[in-house]
Amino acid sequence: MNEMSTRAKTPTLEEMNLIKKFLDDTTLFLGPDPEIMQNHDLMPRTEIEDDAIGKVSDAHTVAKIRDRIQSGCDEGYEMVEQMGAAPGAKWGDVITGVYSASGDLAIASAGGVLIFSALVHHPIKFIIKNWMNEPTVGVKDGDGFIHNDSRYGNVHNTDQSMIIPIFHKGKLVCWVASTVHEGENGAIEPGGMPSMAESPSDEGLKMSPFKVVENYQIKRDILTFLQNSVREPKLQYEDMKVKLFACLRIKQRIEETLNSDGPEALMATLRLTMENVRAEVKRRISEWPDMTVRSYIIQDSTLRENCVVKINCKLTKTGDRLIFDFRGSSPEFTNRATNTIVAGLKGMLAQVFLCYVWPDLPRGQAAFAPIEVITDPHSIVNCSYDAPNSQSLMSIFTGFTAGQHAVAKFLYSCPEKFTRVHAPTFNMINTFIWGGVSQHGETLGNLCADLNGMGAGATASRDGEHALAPIFATMADIGEQELNEEEVPFLQLVSKKMTRDAIAPGKYRGGQGYTMMVATKDSEQWGFMTTAQGAKIPPLQGLFGGYACGTYPLSKVKDVDVYDVLMNEPERFRHSIEEIMNEQPFEDADYSTHHMGMGFEISKRGELFMISQGAGAGYGDLLERDPENIIKDIEEGLISPEVAARLYKVVFDAATLAIDFDATEAARAKERQARIKRSVPYAEFVKGWNTPKPPAHLQYFGCWGDDVGTLYMGAPDITRRGDQPRPNYMMHPKDVRIAELEARLEAAGAMGDEKK
């Protein structure tokens, strides 16, 4: 065979076009599009936008229209919050936004969960790319699209969006969307965030963006299918209507602007708002010192088992570029749900800036647009299509904290600040997810609002506030538990009581979290689950010498009916986890502690499940804490006198709490000298401390030290290259336990003659 006959013929341009058309026409599955999903920057300015800006760019006109659109978004937000059926809707786990014709989020409502809105540009861009010119779908006036699969955008598939296009005289001018944390989605566990999911197929409804509304009417056949796929069919219907009508209200406000100022003014406003914010962000970054800051945050579980999962963050600022480098973070778990798609991580990092660093900027996609993010492929912060991600909050929240911790170290020296330098806020959703059949015979699955009560980190000038707000929505609410109790068959017997000694000490201490005790009543088919990190390792770092929070377990009391106790012997009841677990006041009850990844568990009437929200991190050397503030903490039940005296070296009268300032100063001076005495020089310390690999007694996932290219996968001798994905399976925790017990039986010669 000669050379000519073996060489492939180079296709002509015409043939290439034919091949492309063939491939386009025969696409078997329109999965998540990496071109859309990996990009968080703004779309290029279009010719239409350019023309519009040429006609309208007056700053006053733009500001006026932006404020009108902002008001419209806020109005839509209020509608969803007031009318939404999902518990999340009632406390602000909601947002509305207006997107450019190309799909970029230009303006979001002032309240609510910004991350939802900041990530809905992905499904809109999917619709634009795939459905706009698709003859079987199309995009017309009166259409509405639904979406919840985070692989096509957004955080996790418990959040559902309604997306509508806005036309003016037949031309698309923008999009409007409304998103709610709906909760129930038909997953393997009730409530929408299954920890037990071992593949995306366990995670319930996975809606790629599709049309569910035509002529402003919800299509009943599709609605019925969706209702039939979840545990709360009425909620599914009601909230689809609520989101649609909120979108229509915003549409009405946009049309008023279109009629008064014209489409060019609207489109110019949306585009200039984004471009101006993007430019301002680059200017602000350029004011930071050129530096690399490193941090890491540990997840101490997959929610199924305890292990050490590293979120590694290197943040580098050079000129006006800011790069988050998360390489070295844990590999993705093939059969655990704590992975996130990278867009989710970016959405949470956007929260660092819009909620905590530059809250003055208009809320939209542009504030994070120029910031770069690097990750390893198939890592826990950039997982593959096949990995479950229903518990992505675990990774996006720890990623958020790594970012928040790193950013604070850039800000201190900046002359221009927009907020105080801030230690990390608590980052876990320490709350109860619940489900089953209610006292009214309704099948339900959702969660308590307490996840919104995260303790705030301390700042450079004051203590963190208690149970303030979730890191994903600084303008959300904790909601009224009493209202929720009218619909669910359990009571929070203790709620909103600060957990004493669960502290994050510092010159300024972190804001603390509160205790929650729940017990089922009036249903034999009801249960709870919890989904949080931090029962063995704190999920935070302290700032500038301050400490992180402690750890927060789940405590249970079984074989008791506390309602009987309250009825017959109320004096036996105690109002703190500390007292109930230490005093064990209920005879013959079973008292136990667990990590915070409790899979859905059916509860019997009167059994106690007890947890605590967490504290934000502390700031500065605790020996500099004002003694008077320490006594105030004691008086408020935040810290016990013994712990306060031991940690803060404050000297006071045990009976009157009167401070002896001179003795305190002397005790603190002595402690500073004691520190110097017990500490060793760095070079000497690392000789004894540093090890070349992770410890063998821990299942460790992620890089070790500076070698970010090698990712450990549960043992010191199992690794992968950061850029070379490998499957990372975990055994079922019950199989692990069975193997342990069988090994003990075998060692004791008690396995009998069982054949293998």
Binding site: D290, A502, V680, W689, W704
Partner: protein, 132 residues
Amino acid sequence: MKIPMTEYLRIDLETEKWECRVCDHVIAPADGNYKEGLLVHNRDPREIHPPIIDPDKYRFTFSPDPEWVRILEFCCPGCGTQVETEYAIPGHPPLWDMQVDVAALKAQWAARGPAALPDAGPVVMPERGHSH
């Protein structure tokens, strides 16, 4: 010019050194890891985050597990001020957390001038803590 970089650390742009803002101790070269000039203590996390429920009865107590995590406490050898903490997996090398481009810092502040120095820093007194 001396630039306050953290609550307790500054960089002297002339000498290019990290310094303690409380006692003026010269800690380390500014282009290196300031932690190399500090003292370190490996703290059992249970001492800072005390068990709230009885560790003799329960596996999880509100205290971090000392086999899983330690607190590295970094203090100034001159005054004993706790400059930084690091919650670390046992054996994990401490982080070089602030790697400064000193030349860029000098250029940035040469353009700004001392009038722009941030006001967030503390008033420092060696013996008595400090406040804003």
